[in-house]
């Protein structure tokens, strides 16, 4: 539900301008240094890294569409248990590539909007759609009846997103800001259990966000290594710390325990590990200088 990533995404045909904000203008007025830095960016050749990330995002989106289709089919067939099992894993593809997936102003809330977000925008419950509405049906109402149209719409939206993503041009800012944004997502909604308030499958999203950030780090690794090998070592260590903590909450089938099973001590430890990762991760911008 974040619009800030918009800035860093360029789409052929100028599709996405709403909510773009004035960040860029403000910065320019504020500080001419911004422009200089942008100039410098063009001198750093990241073309290999950018296309590697684009490749990754497209694969995630392919898989997201396939798994969403599977989920929707189970849902429409009235297979409650089957749909529940397919729910969290399908969403992980979306969460992993969130810097790109969430950059389409209307589509992100339609696919991933929570009731609280919709209401915050002054909209009524009838405008609520997407995964979380079906989550509500499955876990709260324990039914699929009456939600078939919502399921159809979700699949249509997923297809539209898939089509749009093909045109995305990945920029260095998208990757670098995106990695930190993924962690911020974890810190603000996953760690508080506010993302999946009915299914409590927050740790799946948590894991996927971290994997998304780690992928960006991996792609940039050699460039970072050349600039600051200590930073790379620190990031390796901090990613491992988060992964190790998350691994303590896996289930026998390779999934994750319910958010409700976590103690305050657990969530505090996870939040601290994410913050300690976020601080060095925010330094990845040094490769653009």
């Amino acid at each position: 539900m974040e619009y800030k990533a918009l800035l860093s995404v360029v789409v052929a045909g100028g599709l996405l301008m709403a909510g773009c904000g004035n960040t860029e203008e403000v910065k320019k007025e504020d500080k001419p240094a911004t422009e200089q830095a942008e100039q410098a960016t063009q001198e750093v050749d990241l073309s290999t890294e950018l296309s590697a990330y684009q490749q990754f995002a497209l694969e995630q989106m392919d898989q997201f569409l396939l798994d969403t289709e599977k989920f929707v089919n189970l849902f429409k067939a009235g297979d409650i248990e089957g749909a529940k099992a397919a729910y969290a894993p399908a969403r992980m593809y979306f969460e992993r590539s969130e810097p790109i997936a969430e950059s389409f102003g209307d589509l992100d809330p339609r696919i991933d909007g929570r009731l609280a977000d919709i209401q915050e925008e002054g909209k009524g419950e009838e405008e609520w759609s997407g995964y979380h509405k079906l989550e509500y049906a499955l876990w709260e109402e324990n039914t699929t009846k009456g939600y078939e149209a919502v399921a159809d719409q979700l699949l249509a939206d997923a297809k539209e997103l898939h089509a749009l993503v093909q045109t995305v041009e990945v920029t260095p800012d998208l990757m670098i800001t995106g990695a930190v944004d993924l962690l911020n997502e974890v810190s603000t909604s996953k760690i508080t259990g506010e993302e999946e308030i009915y299914s409590h499958t927050d740790l799946y999203d948590f894991k996927a966000n971290i994997e998304g950030a780690e992928k960006i780090f991996e792609i940039l690794r050699s460039k970072l290594e050349a600039k600051d090998s200590t930073l790379v070592a620190t990031l390796d260590e901090k990613f491992k710390a988060v992964d190790d903590l998350l691994a303590q909450h896996t289930t026998a089938d390779g999934g994750y325990v319910s958010y409700e099973a976590l103690t305050e001590e657990n969530t505090k430890a996870l939040a601290a590990a994410v913050n300690q990762l976020g601080e060095p991760l925010s330094q990845m911008g040094i490769i653009l200088e």
Partner: protein
């Protein structure tokens, strides 16, 4: 600081990128010279080989360097942000490096300067969080202390002073874990709440992955225009019997440790004391004054005229009753015959969710040569203290605050030299 570490550190080939990073974390106070390397740093306006000096031009500035740390006998400022930290580092060496990293940053903060110079790369977050930009030093003082648990965690039990241990349980204590203890403390006091908070925020941020905040508390004090002792939230003057901060002899007797690595340091005791304002406010003035043993308005001991009049707790009236009741705060505290330097701040942190009452009280802070001084007073107050009806002790911590820092040295050097 051990020389071998320095050499290894310097021998390492350091790229320009590494240097930029070093300025970011501010590793100063490393007293060595290497041609070329220092030049680049100087060109960037920040020389890591020379310790940061106390500014001679900064407004409202407290000097960092000296025999004692600041924030102990520094004239009391209007605001505090107190943070108790857990260390995440696992070795003595990492702890030493943290203190070396912090030292020049503390000087800069107390100069009212930014943590680092602005970089031109807008693709990384700024090195200073920025909210103190445009504000002056605001008499910022920074006091760093070590809790008993630090010595156990990092295998330093052999240098842990015998006096440094968790306080005993006192009658009526209702301590909560989330407000108790800590491996390290940062006491930031300033005449501006944002300057004090900024200092703690940035020191903790610079130590990401090395420390985590265990608990923290903001507090305030207000001073009458004509000067004098500040009042707490019960409206009584707090700190009347403090030793004068200019009386060196008294301070040596009361505040400064005179042996071992902690020489010229002091023990800080912090107590988070909830004050039940609603019940206090429905207490008659007579009872309020009998609780403290002083008059509310003047601050004078009961039966006396002026705040600083001497008093005899054994004095009785015609009927044979104590003039200063033997259940009053003043009577019991004086009876213990122990003194300390109090430097407390009031707090008001919203509303208690379970009762709807003010979440307000006193962040009691005292400095003493030996925690036994505080323990004697607190034991004397014990169950007798009439004040207990109106207060509850919720948090407690004790820290050994290091001696002052000389230019070229770093916070806590005496401890590491003793290892």
């Amino acid at each position: 600081m051990t020389t071998s570490n320095d050499e290894k550190w310097i021998d390492k080939k350091i790229s320009r990128r590494d240097m930029l990073k070093l300025t970011g974390v501010g590793v100063a106070g490393v007293a060595v010279g290497a041609s070329g390397f220092g030049g680049v740093m100087k060109a960037m306006g920040y020389n890591i080989f020379e310790p940061v000096a106390d500014s001679t031009t900064a407004k409202h500035k407290v000097d960092f360097y000296g025999k004692h740390q600041t924030g102990i006998i520094t004239p009391v400022q209007t605001n505090i942000y107190f943070a108790s930290l857990d260390v995440l580092v696992t070795s003595q060496k990492e702890l030493q490096q943290l203190f070396q990293q912090w030292t020049p940053l503390m000087v800069r903060l107390m100069n009212g300067e930014q943590m680092v110079e602005m970089t031109t790369n807008t693709r990384v977050p700024p090195g200073d969080t920025g909210e103190a930009k445009g504000l002056d030093a605001a008499h910022l003082s920074l006091t760093i202390g070590a809790g008993p648990s630090l010595f156990d965690k990092l295998g330093m039990q052999h240098v842990k002073p015998a006096e440094l241990k968790d306080l005993p349980h006192f009658p009526k204590d209702q301590l909560q874990q989330e407000w108790t203890g800590g491996d390290l403390c940062i006491q930031a006091c300033a005449d501006d709440p944002q300057v004090a908070f900024h200092a703690v925020r940035n020191l903790v941020r610079a130590a990401s992955g090395k420390v985590a905040i265990k608990w923290s508390q903001a507090g305030f004090n207000a001073f009458p225009a004509e000067g004098g002792t500040p009042r707490n939230l019960f409206a009584f003057k707090d700190g009347t019997v403090n030793p004068a901060i200019t009386d060196e002899q008294d301070l040596h007797k009361t505040v400064w440790v005179d042996k071992g690595w902690l020489k010229n340091g002091s023990y800080l005791i912090a107590r988070k004391i909830q004050m039940h304002l609603e019940t206090w406010d429905r207490t008659s003035l007579k009872d309020q004054e009998a609780t403290f043993g002083r008059y509310r308005d003047s601050g004078a001991p009961l039966g006396k005229e002026n705040e600083f009049d001497d008093f005899d707790i054994e004095a009785k009236d015609d009927k044979g009753d104590y003039i200063i009741p033997d259940t009053s705060h003043v009577h019991l505290a004086r009876k213990s015959d122990a003194r300390m330097l109090r430097r407390s701040y009031s707090y008001a942190s919203g509303v208690l969710s379970n009762t709807g009452a003010h979440d307000a009280g006193l962040l009691f802070i005292s400095f003493q040569k030996d925690p036994a001084q505080f323990i004697a007073v607190q034991n004397s107050l014990g169950r007798m203290d009439k004040m207990n009806e109106y207060i509850t002790h919720r948090g407690s911590a004790v820290f050994a605050c290091f001696p002052g820092v000389q230019k070229g040295s770093y916070v806590g050097e005496a401890l590491f030299n003793a290892l």
